[in-house]
């Protein structure tokens, strides 16, 4: 009981700083994911259109995902230096796989008869993609986005090791100061962020699915 009062007292006193860290955390994730969308969706589409490229594209993104996060960030640091941008690049690379793979699968999953109806109606390949295949792959893409967001929120917590901010800063300083309160003050908002992202995107995913099913 004592601890909870202590924690809430700390959080109230440092609300300004904690908010700033949360915003920074969110920004890293959002930039990373946006970048991943901008690059990943076209890659997914290319993989779906050119079946021969698919294994190459999927494998590369898969390997990126397999590199341990700390190692990946350390390597990135060698080339991009310390700071916010390096973290964004790291999150971008991490989010690539779920987005590329789900875009690819989403397009591949479009029923053959629907594709045939589109071609038979006289759509050009680009029109088919824009009017039929891509809209129908959105529920899959949303699922990928959801996974990517949750991963990114988690990975962003080790940001301070490469000089980026975010809620990880509070956690890591808590570790070095052996302050339980500081650790929780960082961990709780980070967890809430992950849960919130998961719930919201889950809801969104369900809504897009309803249309298509």
């Amino acid at each position: 009981m004592n601890f909870i009062t202590e924690l809430s007292q700390y959080m109230v006193e440092n609300v300004g700083e904690l908010m700033a860290l949360t915003v920074e955390h969110i920004l890293m994730v959002v930039y990373g994911i946006l970048l991943a969308l901008v690059v990943g969706v076209p890659l997914g589409i290319i993989a779906a259109r050119y079946e021969k490229l698919a294994p190459i594209i999927i494998s590369i993104t898969n390997i990126l995902q397999l590199i341990p996060s700390l190692a990946m960030l350390a390597i990135l640091m060698l080339y991009f230096g310390l700071g916010f941008e390096t973290m964004v690049i790291g999150l971008f690379l991490y989010s690539l796989l779920p987005i590329v793979r789900n875009t690819y699968v989403g397009i591949k999953e479009v029923d053959d008869s629907i594709t045939e109806a589109g071609i038979g109606s006289g759509m050009t390949p680009l029109q088919l993609l824009a009017k039929v295949q891509f809209p129908l792959s959105i529920p899959f893409l949303m699922a990928g986005l959801r996974v990517a967001c949750v991963i990114a929120v988690a990975v962003a917590c080790i940001g301070p090791y490469i000089g980026a901010g975010g809620l990880g800063k509070e956690i890591i300083s808590g570790i070095s100061l052996q302050s339980e309160v500081k650790i929780y003050a960082g961990a709780i908002p980070a967890t809430i962020l992950a849960i919130f992202a998961d719930l919201m995107l889950g809801l969104f995913e369900k809504r897009t699915k309803k249309r298509v099913a």
């Binding site: 109806a117 038979g120 249309r211």
Partner: protein, 374 residues
């Protein structure tokens, strides 16, 4: 009009999918391609909107070589209804039906008018259905949308690939009826693929029966049923359908030839003698060139013994031409008081007579055979 001239299609692995296909799809007719699976019927249809290409031969659409037409343009001018309906699930009914008009960049008002018109054509209320999504419709309703989507841009040709095969029997029957009705209203060239012979018989103007990439027989449903070209056609159509489609035998089978007749100059007593000798109540009377004149009955001959033949001759009984259909002969029997109908050749020469009783017997046998065959 669409003409296929000596079309061959050979796949890279050497498999010949189509062999020397020669076909004409007449304007405003329902042409049904039918055959067992793998016979090339769907392939033949997909040649027309260039979803598949042929190896050699020539396809002409209204005299224009198909390969000269841009495939995208071609498909926009040709309606296409596919087997699994293939509506776009993320689009409303309105957007689905408007697919091709939108590709053709019609203006909004024109599209709206057209969509409403089409929905009414298949008895779906535009107000209710315009804004719905395909998943909110029953299978039968969905395929109606599939059909009107193909009609939207007023194509002259519509290709239909087993469009009703996935539906329940009741919806299928309804849609077949609607298609026939629609066809009368819109008068398009329809190329329809099916494996269902009943469907083909019901809707087709021309049936094209295929096997192993070749056309085995083509013609109206009636022609196929009455004259199946070979054992395969018989088998594919099925004995039951052939039996039930059998028409009445020709009139010639009922004619009693060599039935006695007398000339108009005969003495009445001789005529009576002939009738008594053959145990007949009526005799046809001919002139010197064997041309039919009338009928003399034993009753009238006996009651007017003093008269000459021409006085008792009943000329009101019309002779029937030997080439007339049996149904028409029935009509004559209604008016004829006697028991025989004289049958004459094209030159009005008497050939023989048809006996009411025999006719009745033969018909009885025919219908018994027919109903027994099912």
């Amino acid at each position: 009009m669409i003409q296929l001239k000596r079309i061959n299609k050979v796949y890279d692995d050497g498999f010949q999918a189509l062999k020397e296909i020669d076909l004409t799809f007449e304007e405003g007719k329902i042409n049904v391609l039918i055959g067992p699976s793998g016979c090339g019927k769907t392939t033949t249809m997909k040649l027309l909107n260039r979803l598949t290409e042929y190896t050699d031969g020539q396809i002409l659409i209204d005299g224009k070589d198909l390969n000269q037409i841009n495939p995208i343009e071609l498909r926009r001018q040709m309606g296409y209804v596919i087997q699994n309906i293939g509506l776009f699930p993320h689009m409303t009914i309105y957007d689905n039906v408007a697919t091709v008009p939108k590709l053709l960049k019609w203006d909004k008002q024109r599209i709206r008018k057209r969509v409403d018109e089409l929905l009414q054509l298949v008895n779906l209320d535009p107000e209710t259905y315009r804004g719905r999504y395909p998943s909110e419709l029953s299978g039968g309703q969905q395929q109606r949308i599939g059909v009107i989507r193909a009609l939207a841009a007023e194509p002259s040709t519509i290709l239909m690939d087993e469009p009703f095969s996935a539906l329940d029997p009741i919806s299928r029957e309804q849609l077949q009826d609607e298609l026939v009705r629609l066809q009368r209203e819109i008068n398009k060239t329809i190329v329809f693929v099916t494996h269902d012979m009943d469907e083909a018989i019901k809707i087709a103007d021309q049936v094209i029966l295929m096997k192993d990439g070749q056309v085995v027989q083509k013609g109206s449903p009636k022609q196929l049923l009455e004259n199946p070209a070979n054992e395969f056609v018989r088998e594919f159509i099925g004995e039951n359908r052939l039996e039930s489609a059998k028409t009445l035998p020709p009139l010639s089978e009922f004619v009693v030839e060599g039935y006695p007749s007398v000339t108009g100059q005969s003495d009445l007593q001789d005529v009576i003698d002939v009738m008594v000798e053959h145990n007949l109540a009526e005799l046809p009377v001919v002139d010197g060139e064997n041309k039919y004149r009338g009928i003399v009955s034993l009753y009238r001959a006996l009651s007017n013994k003093q008269a000459v033949l021409s006085d008792v001759l009943d000329t009101s009984i019309q002779a029937v031409n030997e080439n007339e259909a049996i149904d028409d002969v029935m009509n004559h029997t209604k008016n004829a008081p006697g028991s025989v109908i004289p049958i004459v050749s094209n030159e009005s020469e008497l050939i023989g007579v048809v006996n009411h009783n025999q006719l009745f017997q033969a018909l009885h046998q025919f219908y018994q055979r027919k109903s027994g065959g099912e």
